[in-house]
């Protein structure tokens, strides 16, 4: 029983991080109908930015509250810029082209980033994973019974940060002018443009927002894993994408539910079966969901109009 509870907690902690990344996929899909394959790799770049900042700050400063804030801020702003550049130079010229063209471009960017970062030329970090500094000194906050169930401080903190970011996003999308414009673009971007909404700017801002969220999520993931590697974006990104599809891509609450579900399923597979099967399970789960409900759990299957 206590083992079950522990897995539940670990699964939820992993799920909230997936959720932050999945939200980025879902928002971009909402406004552009594009699967941003490079999303996970933008996240990876963000983690490296945070890593570099942590080193620049030094051992003392990186553990203070302000140090952590600076690390997150640098990574999130840097990633927003990167997201802007990718949107401006790779996706915008292709907006009126067939969707497959943009998808191939996204795969290309993902590939260029994740393998470009494996080179050890210039500032690029090289292929081997590196230890991410302990910006949050791990300690056990809640212990139930004789160490049956342990909740770590970073689990609580990352859960709170993730929930805070999600709440901020919810506010932004449903309570602000920008959010209203974003939803209008998502509904029909041509009509939105006719109504005087600057669609290009809204799409660019959506990209920046989703990239910043990804950077935050990536840092939380790196703190959990205490490591950073060029390929982390590919795998975390894929899992988060699976989560977004399970929840119904384009649907904001769906992405969160899908991510929590995926986090739990993975944790239970690792806990009760074998950890070597973990990577296969996410995809098997995805195929299963798509078989039963092709639009995802909360998505609508839109009839194709001509």
């Amino acid at each position: 029983m206590s083992q079950l509870l522990q897995h539940l907690i670990n699964g939820l902690a992993a799920g909230t991080i997936y959720a932050l990344v999945a939200l980025g996929y879902t928002m971009v899909y909402g406004v552009l109908k594009l699967i941003n394959f490079a999303h996970g790799d933008v996240m990876m770049v963000g983690v490296y930015m945070g890593y570099a900042t942590a080193f620049a700050l030094g051992r003392q400063a990186q553990r203070s509250l302000w140090g952590v804030v600076v690390i997150f801020a640098v990574a999130m702003v840097g990633c927003a810029l990167l997201g802007f550049l990718i949107e401006r130079f790779a996706y915008r010229p292709l907006r009126e082209k067939p969707r497959l063209t943009a998808l191939i471009t996204a795969i290309g960017i993902s590939f260029a980033l994740s393998y470009g970062f494996q080179l050890d030329i210039g500032f690029l970090p090289g292929a081997s994973p590196r230890a991410f500094p302990e910006v949050i000194t791990p300690s056990e906050w809640f212990i139930i019974g004789d160490r049956d169930v342990v909740i770590w401080n970073w689990q609580v903190i990352s859960f709170l940060i993730a929930v805070g970011l999600m709440a901020a996003l919810q506010f932004l999308v449903y309570r602000t002018r920008f959010g209203k414009a974003m939803r209008a673009v998502s509904y029909d971007h041509r009509t939105a443009a006719l109504m005087g909404i600057p669609t290009d700017r809204i799409i660019a801002l959506t990209f920046m927002l989703s990239s910043a969220l990804a950077a935050g999520a990536g840092l939380l993931y790196a703190i959990k894993d205490t490591s950073v590697s060029p390929l982390m974006g590919l795998y975390v990104g894929l899992k988060a994408f699976v989560a977004a599809v399970i929840g119904g891509i384009g649907n904001v609450p769906g992405a969160v539910v899908g991510a929590l579900l995926l986090g739990l399923v993975e944790e239970f597979v690792v806990g009760y079966a074998a950890s070597t099967w973990r990577d296969a399970v996410a995809f098997a789960f995805l195929i299963l969901v798509l078989l039963v409900k092709p639009g995802g759990l909360f998505g609508r299957v839109a009839a194709e109009k001509v």
Partner: protein
């Protein structure tokens, strides 16, 4: 060719070759060439290896082109099917190692068993293609992409966890039955099939799906059926390519069939032109030989060994950038849907018109 102004494929050779011979003419030309190549290359193991790799990549690119190019779907899990073929064929060969057909000489018996193993691998891959294709081809293009990717990953994990497949260590000691002639026999076969499909009414339906799925369906094309069939044919040949690969490399392990391999094939197809069989062939040859060429160039120049090693590292990010640049500058790829003879300069012999 001899008949200017005539526009269909079958008419090109008309009047020169008797109809009964037309279908098998390519085989009659190819067989002596293959035999010659086998004799000439017998001395150089490296050339044999390189030619085999080129051949396997051609099979992969041409077969993926049937799905990604002609049908307009986007599969990025081709290496998964290749892995199925490689492992099934490898295990079959390993278990038949001691068996010899008594009524045949040893060499011939080996080749027969090799063919059996290849067909077993191809069939299993085709079966997987059917299983993946049936549910996922009802989905939209981008969902298909992610499901094929997921399938590739699942295959890799299954192999890593199966004792019979050697887990992460891989399979070694598979008899080296493969030969350049065998590889290029299958190259020839896949090109023949791809070209025949492209020109047939089956192919017309595939092109229709590629251009507009809704319109195709409205015209009475059974879109799901055609997509699944394209998928099965494509994965069969991917399985064959895997089987061939398993029989000329010393060891196969899950690392040979990752997402990276799938991407390599996708880049070949996109570079050559989505829908162009000869484009896929040219791109496969080019992209296989280029890194080898650069590596030996750096090696010959006496550059520090690290530079030659870096070729392999730099290949991947360059592929990524290549995709981006291609999509921005020339989204149809080098040849588009045209074939080689459509883009040749005027003074070279050319067919009057491609299929599309």
């Amino acid at each position: 060719m001899a008949a200017p102004g005539v526009t269909t494929l079958t008419d090109v050779d008309a009047g020169r070759v008797p109809p009964a011979l037309r279908g098998i003419l390519p085989v009659l030309i190819a067989l002596p060439v293959l035999a010659l190549a086998e004799v000439l290359l017998g001395a150089s193991p490296f050339a044999t290896y390189l030619l085999s790799v080129v051949g396997v990549n051609i099979i992969l690119a041409v077969s993926l082109n049937i799905v990604n190019g002609m049908t307009g779907q986007f599969s990025i899990g081709h290496a998964g099917f290749m892995a199925v073929g490689a492992y099934i064929a490898g295990v079959t060969s390993l278990s038949l190692k001691e068996v010899a057909l008594s009524f045949l000489p040893v060499a011939a018996s080996d080749q027969v068993l090799f063919t059996v193993a290849l067909l077993a691998g191809g069939t299993c891959a085709a079966l997987c293609g059917f299983l993946v294709g049936l549910p996922s081809l009802r989905l939209r293009g981008d969902y298909l992409a992610i499901v094929t990717l997921g399938f590739g990953e699942i295959i890799r994990v299954v192999v890593q966890n199966t004792e019979a497949f050697g887990r992460a260590l891989g399979l070694s000691g598979i008899p080296q039955y493969s030969s350049v002639a065998m590889v290029y026999f299958w190259v020839f076969l896949v090109v023949l099939v791809a070209r025949r499909i492209a020109g047939s009414s089956h192919g017309r339906s595939l092109w229709a799906i590629r251009e507009d799925e809704v319109a195709a369906e409205a015209m009475g094309v059974d879109t799901t059926g055609y997509k699944v069939r394209a998928f099965v044919i494509s994965s069969f040949f991917a399985g064959i390519a895997g089987g061939l690969f398993a029989h000329f490399v010393p060891i196969i392990n899950p690392g040979s069939f990752t997402f990276v391999k799938s991407m390599e094939i996708v880049v070949m197809v996109v570079l050559g032109g989505l829908g162009s069989t000869t484009g896929a062939i040219v791109a496969a040859i080019f992209l296989t030989l280029l890194p080898e060429g650069l590596r030996s160039l750096f090696g010959a120049l006496g550059a520090e060994g690290s530079l030659a090693q870096k070729v392999d590292q730099i290949r991947m990010p360059v592929y990524g950038l290549l995709l981006v640049v291609l999509m921005l500058a020339r989204p149809q790829g080098l040849f588009g849907t045209k074939e080689l003879w459509d883009v040749l300069p005027r003074w070279l012999p050319r067919k009057k018109k491609g299929l599309t």
